[in-house]
């Protein structure tokens, strides 16, 4: 089975994000990391490939930089990577991203595409659904469990009430929630081997994807500040301050 996992390199969320004052775009340094959310998709892809004797191909759009994120996913065990890196894609919206990923998945071929539910930098949260529509396949979204058997994929789909069991024929797309599986850590052998794995890089033009801009950020301004509160060191009586506050706001 041919499994494609969409991954994204993002600025480290531990460092506050910086926006370019002219374009309002997120500044992307050379040192990007693998979006933590994507580790779950990579792990799920590896497990399904191991169970079915398949392969895992990573596809990724964005500035490659030093490619630490891509290499981390390869070191976990993915077989190869297809990267679309093109400066005309800077500031690309969700639809352009989905078109690029669809073209890349079309290039590699697939039985199952796996995505995270949303990236940790952009959070648009609609790329998997757009990608599925462009590929003409079902999107089994917010999966908390995934199984593949007899040409079908079955997931547990997170709902506000609990979960649904959803089934579709392959080829299909699945978006996985964080926590769906415990991602493995790359081994030393995996890390050394990652450097030798095949990686192809394309531009948007190589894939014949037109870039359209349908939306733009027009301003970024500071939000109104919240009134500063009381911060107190606990010297054994912190709980009493909390009780007082709860009484003040009439909760008790």
């Amino acid at each position: 089975m041919q499994i494609v996992v969409c991954v994204k390199q993002i600025p480290d969320p531990a460092n506050p994000s910086r926006f370019d004052p002219d374009t309002f775009r997120l500044s992307r340094s050379e040192d990007q990391i693998l979006d933590d959310t994507d580790r779950y998709g990579v792990e799920m892809g590896l497990r399904l490939a191991e169970a079915t004797g398949g392969t895992v191909t990573l596809i990724s759009m964005g500035p490659t930089g030093r490619a630490q994120g891509i290499r981390q996913a390869l070191a976990m065990g993915a077989d190869r990577a297809v990267i679309v890196d093109d400066e005309t894609l800077e500031g690309a919206d969700a639809l352009t991203t989905a078109r690029i990923l669809a073209a890349a998945a079309g290039h590699t071929g697939f039985d199952l595409v796996i995505c995270g539910t949303e990236s940790t930098d952009g959070y648009s949260g609609v790329v998997p659904q757009m990608l599925a529509e462009l590929l003409g396949v079902a999107a089994l979204t917010y999966a908390t469990g995934v199984e593949v058997a007899d040409g079908q994929v079955t997931i547990h789909r997170q709902t506000s009430a609990g979960y649904d069991v959803v089934v579709a024929d392959l080829p299909a797309l699945v978006s996985v929630t964080a926590g769906v599986v415990e991602p493995r850590y790359p081994t030393f052998r995996g890390i050394m081997g990652a450097k030798k794995k095949p990686t192809e890089t394309f531009s948007a033009a190589d894939l014949n994807v037109p870039i359209s801009v349908g939306q733009q950020v027009v301003s970024i301004s500071p939000a109104p500040e919240r009134k500063a509160g009381v911060i107190a060191e606990d010297e054994g009586e912190g709980h009493l301050l909390i009780l007082e506050k709860l009484q003040e706001v009439k909760v008790i």
Binding site: P13, S17, F24, A94, L95, E118, T120, Y123, S124, G125, V126, Q129, M130, A132, E133, L134, G136, A138, A139, T141, T144, T154, R157, Q158, T159, S160, A161, G162, Y163, D164, V165, V166, V167, A168, P171, A172, T177, A178, G179, S212, G214, Q215, V217, V218, I220, A223, G229, I231, A232, E233, D234, G238, H239, L240, I242, L243, K245, L246, V249, V251
Partner: protein, 317 residues
């Protein structure tokens, strides 16, 4: 008059609260058609009428996963009626339909909006809270309509304005072949205590609790207060508590009277889901934790010291 369409998923046999919130906003922008997915009922149509809907398109998808067939049917309807603006909620099925519809129609979507306005030229503008809510971004469409916007829950209060049940159009759903999926089972998780999204008091825990079993401290404080219990993404990902408890960007958006953050540092992705609580109380060991920048009362201390004493005091009172 401007045509605004709002998505509404059926929940508990009637319109979802989120759907009614979108309707409350949309009726100030134009004439509202509700896109209702679910089995539907006269009572549901009454409620939608009371909240200002002037027409209902009803998509009864049965055991089919809604997104594929609903997006296909909606694309045809949108081509026929040319609505200027379509509002969806930041929720599972809403996102699925909006994403597929946008790709099908080749139009952009703006996600995570907290407000929407329409210019005199009919172009939609949106407001977004970014960087954990410390900054506001304004975005605009540069394409012609329809404009698709996904709005965060609790951005607008749902309120009835009086109105009769509007005409209901049953929309036939096309066969989408390989783009379709089937729901074979539905499971409802039993919930102990009040609903996170409706609760007036919430006690939440994060990584600072140290281990899964210490989540009992959160439950211990919540129970005597009649509070709902929440969690950060970090401890949900770690498997300490179910995903349904997650508060934040990828979880639930809450606006309780009191939010007590225990062992929560205040990652941006968490803050955006709870910063609009009226009163925020935080307990954290690290005096530099970002949660203290928005706390009304911050206790710099160890949750394992403070919370057991708090539980004891609450038991006495």
């Amino acid at each position: 008059m401007t045509e605004v369409w709002t998505f509404c998923e059926e929940s508990g046999g009637g319109p979802s609260t989120l759907g009614l919130e979108l309707l409350a906003k949309a009726r100030r922008l134009g004439q509202v058609t509700v896109l209702y997915t679910g089995s539907g009922s006269p009572r549901a149509w009454e409620t939608l009428g009371e909240h200002g809907a002037t027409r209902i398109f009803h998509f009864d998808h049965g055991d089919r996963l809604a997104a594929g067939p609903v997006a296909a049917a909606l694309a045809n309807l949108a081509a026929e009626h040319s609505p200027q603006l379509l509002l969806f909620g930041q929720a599972y099925t809403d996102r699925d339909v909006a994403g597929r519809l946008a790709a099908r129609m080749g139009v952009p979507v703006l996600s995570n909006a907290v407000d929407v306005t329409l210019g005199s030229d009919g172009q939609a503008r949106t407001r977004h809270e970014i960087s954990g809510g410390s900054e506001i971004a304004e975005a605009a469409f540069v394409s012609t309509g329809p404009h698709l916007v996904i709005v965060r829950p609790k951005s607008f209060p749902a309120e009835p304005v009086g109105g009769n049940p509007p005409p209901v159009v049953a929309v036939e759903l096309p066969d989408v072949g390989g783009a379709g999926a089937v729901v074979t089972e539905r499971h409802t998780r039993e919930r102990r205590g009040p609903d996170l999204e409706e609760a007036t008091v919430i006690v939440s825990g994060g990584r600072g609790l140290g281990a899964a079993e210490h989540y009992s401290l959160v439950e211990g404080v919540a129970a005597p207060l009649g509070a709902a219990t929440g969690a950060t993404r970090a401890i949900v990902d770690a498997g300490w508590v179910p995903y349904a408890k997650q508060v934040g960007q990828t979880g639930k958006t809450v606006k309780p009277d009191v939010y007590m953050a225990c062992g929560i540092s205040g990652a941006m992705q968490h803050l955006v889901g709870m910063k609009d609580a009226k009163t925020i109380i935080a307990i954290n060991k690290d005096p530099d934790a970002p949660i203290f920048t928005i706390a009304d009362l911050g206790i710099v201390g160890d949750v394992h010291q403070v919370m057991p004493k708090l539980i004891a005091e609450l038991a006495d009172s």
